[in-house]
């Protein structure tokens, strides 16, 4: 994809009040409650990532914000307006990349973009937008002949035609190759820098780690974890692992304040993992490692393959989702 920096929506008022407000949103489908009382805000220039397993309620949340569903209870507001049924006040101010492509595959790329262009009051230039997503050389090709990643780029391009101030991105980079994904991330970052409020759902945790200012992990219709990436990871703790010395039994492992220990079998050997939490985020890992090394020296054993790492978003995600749910998913 091209790395040319093309003009993106700018010169629009930013604000310290949220562009998107969700309060105690609940959404039922018959007896099934897909979303169970979630709340969050998204401010201009902020990207809020909504993560979760399939069926967690992410798409229902996005679709409610897009105006397809009326909340069963609670409120959603976009620029202070109820988005239900896409009121004229929000047209052009919001854009969306749906989970599916939503493209008329019998049209060519240019016909499709031109149609969106012609249906918009203050559109961006067709060639500019095609170059932005690196589809300029595919303009004359029927959409059905594009690859999955190219279709995602086209739908992203269409969502940007109207210079939206709020953008809903439902798994926008699914099917893209790594280069296209990176270019898409750059486009999204530039949109943020120009004050666009972005709601992103993705199964690529790296994508959320790179782009999100704040994130939430949904599970079974509820937000289980929310905050900045650093804040979420800090809460989740550091991991200190090592191969269990043969001379040591699991009951002999020492206990430390603000930490828990678990032992698992991997490759036929026992591995110990300390999860260290606590307010002193910068030093807590050092404190426990130092105590462990001292303990090992005192017992005359070596902590082989000793490693320390902070929690990853994947750790948090897996913990929230639960191994059973993932296996069943």
């Amino acid at each position: 994809m091209t790395t040319t920096h093309t003009e993106l929506p700018s010169d629009r008022p930013t604000a310290d009040e949220p562009a998107v407000v969700v309060r105690d949103l609940r959404r039922h489908y018959g007896d099934f409650e897909a979303v169970k009382g979630i709340s969050f805000d998204i401010r201009p220039g902020e990207l809020f990532a909504l993560l979760g397993t399939n069926g967690a309620g992410k798409t229902t949340t996005i679709e409610t914000l897009e105006g397809f569903w009326r909340p069963t209870s609670g409120t959603v507001r976009v620029f202070g307006t109820d988005p239900y049924d896409q009121p004229p006040a929000l047209r052009g101010r919001t854009g969306a990349v749906l989970q599916g492509n939503g493209l008329m595959e019998d049209l060519t790329v240019r016909e499709s973009i031109t149609l969106t262009h012609d249906l918009t009051a203050e559109p961006r230039d067709v060639d500019e937008i095609l170059d932005l997503v690196d589809l300029g050389d595919k303009a004359g090709i029927a959409i059905r002949q594009l690859s999955g990643g190219q279709k995602r780029r086209l739908i992203l391009a269409q969502s940007l035609i109207a210079r939206p101030e709020v953008l809903y991105l439902d798994e926008p980079t699914t099917g893209m190759d790594p280069e296209a994904r990176h270019t898409t991330w750059r486009i999204i970052s530039e949109l943020k820098s120009r004050g666009v409020a972005v709601l992103l759902t993705t199964h690529y945790l790296e994508e959320a780690e790179r782009l999100a200012d704040r994130l939430a992990i949904m599970h079974r219709g509820e937000i289980r974890v929310e905050g900045t990436l650093a804040g979420v990871l800090a809460t989740w703790g550091d991991r200190i692992g090592f191969l269990m010395p043969e001379e040591i039994g699991t009951d002999d492992l020492p206990a430390f304040p603000d930490s828990t220990v678990g032992v698992r079998t991997r490759d036929g050997r026992l591995w110990a993992t300390y999860t260290v939490t606590g307010a002193d985020v910068a030093e807590r890992g050092h404190r426990v490692v130092a105590a462990l090394v001292a303990w090992a020296a005192e017992r005359g054993v070596v902590l082989r393959h000793l490693q320390v790492r902070g929690a990853s978003l994947e750790d948090v995600f897996l913990q929230v989702a639960g191994a059973t749910d993932l296996a069943a998913d």
Partner: protein, 282 residues
């Protein structure tokens, strides 16, 4: 975290939006492009043309003045053009577009339902008019007759196309795929076709049934087309039909026009009420 500034926002700063009428006209252009590329659309077009061939083999018994049974069936076929294309095409493409999320994407892109419904209806109207012109040429060649009241004929084709387009849209919630939409559409299409008077002579039915069938949209459109083409007031039956002046004919046609408008309104209300944008069942 947020990169928000302290500049005050304009919460109600709605953007200029393109009028639904302009969007409708622009979408109609694309509908035309796509119509030309859809094989199924051509099939419905061919079927509509075929409707004009069916009456050619009918007996040419005079019914109203010099106008024969075959002529009347051929004229009534003008009212069935909208039936074939109107039920067939919108139900097919809108179901396919719903399943492939095109409708949802359009909606979130700021295209109102009036533009979406309007463009497909306009497309059906244009195609129906084009086929109707072909029908009029065929009639002129076969019987040498031209419509006595072209405006009323135009209105019959128009109302038939509009009401049937809305019926076609109304079918889409009942189907999960374009293929099942085509099958589902066949039920009302065949029923209305066989009760419209140009394939099966409705005179073979009891009077009570014939009167009831007259309230159906295709029969009403066919009657309106026959009156406009022949200049006879056929609204109360062929036996009592008499030549009528323009004004007299329009007055006589008002109840039939009302029937077609009522069907159009009913189908539109039901379409708006039950139309589904999302392939997911709520």
């Amino acid at each position: 975290m947020s990169t928000a500034t302290t500049e005050p926002t304009t919460r109600a700063a709605a953007r200029p939006v393109m009028s639904p009428l302009r969007q409708t006209l622009r979408l109609t252009r694309t509908e035309f492009t796509l119509f030309m590329r859809y094989k199924t659309a051509w099939m419905f077009l061919g079927l509509a043309v075929f409707m004009f061939l069916v009456p050619l083999n009918m007996p040419g018994d005079p019914v109203v003045g010099d106008i024969t049974t075959a002529d009347l069936a051929l004229i009534a076929a003008l009212g069935s053009v909208g039936l074939i294309i109107g039920i067939g095409h919108p139900s097919n493409v809108f179901t396919a577009r719903r399943e492939s999320l095109v409708l949802k994407q359009m909606r979130v892109s700021g295209v109102p339902r009036s533009a979406l419904f309007g463009s497909i209806t306009l497309m059906v109207v244009l195609m129906s008019l084009a086929i109707s012109v072909l029908g009029v040429v065929m009639l002129a060649v076969v019987s040498g007759a031209l419509p006595k009241d072209p405006v009323m004929l135009l209105l019959s084709v128009l109302l038939s196309a509009v009401s049937m387009s809305f019926l076609g849209l109304l079918i889409t919630p009942l189907a999960r795929t374009a293929e099942s939409a085509q099958m589902t559409a066949m039920v009302p299409m065949m029923f209305l076709l066989f009760t419209g008077g140009n394939i099966i002579p409705t005179g073979m039915f009891p009077d009570r049934v014939v009167n009831m069938l007259g309230y159906l949209p295709t029969a009403a459109a066919g009657r309106l087309a026959q009156a406009s083409y022949t200049g006879y007031d056929v609204f109360s039956g062929y036996e009592s039909a008499t030549p009528a002046g323009i004004l007299e004919l329009w007055v006589a046609a008002l109840p039939t026009i009302g029937i077609l408008l009522a069907w159009s309104a009913l189908f539109l209300v039901l379409t708006v009420r039950y139309f589904r944008w999302d392939p997911r069942q709520p």
